[in-house]
Point group: none
Chain length 415, copies 2
C-alpha cells in the first residue's frame, strides 16, 4: 500500500512552522509497513489544495492531509475535498449540535463562523474529535481513500492513533517494518559506503541507507515483512554483518548520542573525567554536561583560550609554547596532564587547534591536536579537516569524545 502526505497551511510555505506532522505521520506509516513516496505542502487555497489531492490520488492508494479544518475563513480543506469529489458540502445537524453544546459548556457565545466545522462533503465519513472541535473527514474516491485531519499535532495524532492507523493496518493486512540504526564516529561516510557497497546494492529488503552530519555517519537498515517477527528475521543477519564490517567505529544505536555513551561508560567504569579546551572554548564540556547525571563523572573543564592561560592555569611549559606553539602535540599533552592534575580526575582529554578562519599559533585553519591522559596512558593525535569554524570545532569534540570512548572500552587508539 502506498500513501502520500499533504500538509495544508500557508504558515508552512512562509516557513513560520516546519511540517512536523508529515514526519510524525510518515514514521507511523512506516511502522505498519505502508510506503510513503511523496510529501506535499500547499497553502490555504481551495484550487491548489484540490490539485494537490488529485495529484496524490493519481499515485497513491491513501492520502493523508493535515490542516485547514478550523473555523476561520482560511480553513478551506472541506471545500477543496468537496470539489475533488464533485459533491456539495452538507451541514450535519449532530455535528452542529455538538459544537453548540461544547460552546455552551464554556459559557461563551459561539461565533457563527464556527458552524463551518459541521460541514461535510456528501458521502464522506467523519472522525469525531476527542480533543479540539474540528472533525476529521474520510472520503472514498475510486477505490482510493483520503483522510483529512486537523493541523494541530495533538488533534492529528489522536485521530491517527485512534482511527487512521488501525484502519490502514487492517487494509494493509499483516505487515511490519523494522529498522535499526548504527551510529559511527571516526570514519568518513564514503568509507562506510564502500564497506557496505554490496549490501547497499543487493539491499531491497532490508534496505541500507546512509546519513552523515555532525561529524558522524548513521547507517540505517530497514526490513519489511508480513509480520514483525519475520521482518526482524530478515534484519538480524544483515545487521550482524553490518556490525561486523563496521567494527568498533560503531559507538551506539538509534537515538544515542556520543556524549551519552561517554557518560554511561564513565559511570559504569566509576571513572571521573576533566577536559582542557582551547579551540572548542568549552563546547566539549557543554556537550558532556548536557547529559543528565553527568555530574557524577564529569569534574570540570579548564578552557584556556588565551595562550598565557595555558601556562598559568594548566602549567603548560613556556618552552613548549615558544618552541612548538599552542597548537602542537606537546601542548595538547601538557594541557591534558594539567587538567587531570587540576581537577584530580582519573581521565583528562585536551583539545587545541586552529578553528579558522585565520591561522592560530602558527597553525593552519583546520589543524587540531587531541590528547588523552589517564593512569599509564598518554596518547595524542592530530586532525586536519579544513572546514568552517563550527565544523572544525564539532569534529574536534567528536575526536575527543571518541578517544575517551575507545580508551574506556580498551580499543586501539587512532594515531
Amino acid at each position: 500500500m502506498r500513501a502520500e502526505v499533504i500538509g495544508i497551511g500557508t504558515e508552512i510555505l512562509l516557513g513560520q512552522i516546519a511540517n512536523t506532522n508529515a514526519r510524525w505521520i510518515s514514521e507511523r506509516l512506516a511502522g505498519i509497513g505502508v510506503d510513503v513516496l511523496h510529501h506535499q505542502a500547499v497553502g490555504d487555497n481551495v484550487e491548489r489544495i484540490a490539485d494537490a489531492v488529485r495529484l496524490a490520488l493519481s499515485r497513491a492508494d491513501v492520502v493523508i492531509a493535515t490542516g485547514g479544518l478550523g473555523p476561520t475563513q482560511d480553513d478551506v480543506t472541506r471545500e477543496a475535498l468537496a470539489r475533488v469529489a464533485g459533491v456539495p458540502l452538507e451541514r450535519w445537524p449532530e455535528l452542529e449540535e455538538r459544537l453548540r453544546a461544547r460552546w455552551a459548556a464554556t459559557g461563551r457565545e459561539m461565533p457563527a463562523s464556527n458552524l463551518v466545522q459541521a460541514d461535510v462533503p456528501r458521502g464522506a465519513r467523519v472522525i469525531e474529535p476527542k480533543r479540539g472541535t474540528a472533525p476529521g473527514l474520510v472520503l472514498e474516491l475510486e477505490g482510493r481513500r483520503v483522510y483529512a485531519l486537523p493541523g494541530v499535532p495533538a488533534e492529528m495524532e489522536e485521530m491517527m492513533e485512534g482511527t487512521v492507523l488501525p484502519e490502514l493496518a487492517a487494509l494493509a493486512g499483516p505487515a511490519a517494518l523494522v529498522s535499526r540504526t548504527f551510529r559511527c564516529v571516526g570514519i568518513p561516510e564514503s568509507r562506510v559506503a564502500e564497506l557496505l557497497d554490496d549490501l547497499f546494492r543487493a539491499g531491497t529488503n532490508p534496505t541500507v541507507a546512509f546519513l552523515a552530519g555532525g561529524g558522524e555517519v548513521q547507517v540505517r537498515l530497514t526490513a519489511k515483512a508480513g509480520s514483525r517477527e519475520e521482518a526482524e528475521g530478515l534484519l538480524a543477519p544483515v545487521a550482524e554483518e553490518v556490525r561486523v564490517r563496521l567494527g568498533d567505529v560503531v559507538y551506539g544505536e538509534g537515538e544515542t548520542s556520543l556524549e551519552e555513551v561517554v557518560v554511561r561508560l564513565l559511570t559504569e567504569a566509576r571513572r571521573t573525567l576533566a577536559t582542557a579546551e582551547s579551540v572548542t572554548g568549552g563546547g566539549l564540556g557543554a556537550r558532556i554536561t548536557s547529559v543528565p547525571g553527568a555530574s557524577a563523572v564529569f569534574l570540570g573543564a579548564a578552557v584556556t583560550y588565551d595562550v598565557a592561560a595555558k601556562r598559568t592555569v594548566l602549567g603548560v611549559p613556556g618552552t613548549v609554547l615558544e618552541r612548538e606553539g599552542p597548537v602542537s602535540r606537546d601542548c595538547a599533552a601538557a594541557m591534558a596532564a594539567g587538567a587531570r592534575a587540576l581537577f584530580g580526575a582519573d581521565l583528562a582529554v585536551a583539545l587545541t587547534g586552529a578553528a579558522g578562519p585565520e591561522p592560530h599559533g602558527g597553525a593552519e585553519p583546520g589543524l587540531v591536536w587531541v590528547a588523552l591522559e589517564a593512569e599509564g596512558v598518554r596518547h595524542q593525535r592530530s586532525l586536519r579537516w579544513p572546514g568552517d569554524r563550527s565544523f572544525v570545532r564539532r569534529l574536534a569534540e567528536q575526536a575527543a569524545l571518541d578517544l575517551v570512548r575507545r580508551h574506556l572500552l580498551g580499543l586501539p587508539l587512532p594515531g
Copy 2:
C-alpha cells in the same frame, strides 16, 4: 517571482527526520519577497526526483532542491537533474582536484566513490562549498532556474546566504519588501507585545511580527512597496518608534547574535573577559569563542561542575559551599571573583544553578545565579525559570552575556 522547494531523501519519507530545510528556505525566501506556493519531498530515486523537478518547473520560476549530493550510492540528485535537462554528467577536473587536495590535507586516502561529487550536468553552474565537500548545482532550463543544494543544513544555509538569496534578490528586481529585525534580551515576549500592541494592530504596512526563542525575542518589521526606497520610507518612522519603545533591551539587529555583540563591545573597550561556569558546563565559553576574533578579548573559562572544584580551582570558601550551597548568591560571586583572578581578566561572569531534571545542591530545577565582577563592580542576580535542561542552560547563558553587555554599555544592571 514564484519558488518551489523540494526535499530529497528517503529518510524524510520514512519520518526519520523532519524537512526543516524547507522551513528555513521558505522563511528566507519570504524575507526577500519571493512567493513559495508548494513544497515537495521525494526519496532517493532518480525517476521520482526528476518528476518532482519537472512538476516544480511547470509552476514555479525557481526550484530549490536540497539533498542527494553526497558521495554515496543513494545520492542521485546529480543524475536526476541531468535527466531533466537531457544532458550527460561531466566530471570537472578542478572539482576532482579540490576533492583530492582536501583529502590529501587530511592525510587519509580518498575512497574513489567520492569522485562522483565532481560530476556536473553539462551546462550547469557550480556553487563552491565552503563547508563540506558537496558542490551546489545551478541549472537554467527554459528561462527557469533550478538550484540543487546539500541536505546538511549548515552546508545548505551557507550556499543560500552566500549565493542563492543574493541572486534571487537581484532577479526579483528593485526589492519591494524591506525588513528590519530588532533582537531583544531580558524581556518576555508578552511584554514586548504589550509595548507594541497598537502598532501590531494598526500594522498592515509595515507589518509587525514577534518571534520568541532561544531566550530572546525578535521583533520583525516588514514594509512592502513598489521600490526599495519607498518601502524604506514606510519602514523608517515605525522602526524608530519601535526602537524607542523597546529601549535598551534591544541588543542588536538582523542576524547579530548576543555573543557577537559582547565580543564587539569588549574589543571596542579593550577589556578582557573570563567566565566561571557550572550549570552551563562550558556552553557560555563555547558561544563566546564561536565568534571569530574572540581570542583577542576572551581569556578562558573555569568550568567547575564538581562542587569540590569550585573550591580548589576557583577558591570558593568551603563555608559558602556548606552554608549557602553551590547554587547561591555568595557562591556565584566567589566564582566570578575566582575566575577574574585565575585568568587575570578585566571582567568575569559566573553561572551556577540547577538545570534539572533533578534538584542540585539544594536548589530546585530552574534556579540560576549569575554574578559579574569587574573593577569596582560586584553584581549578582538570580533567575528562576523551570523548563527543560537545555532551556535553563540557554537562559543562563543569555543572562550572563546580557550582564556583560549592560555593564560595558553603562546601562543599569537588572537585580
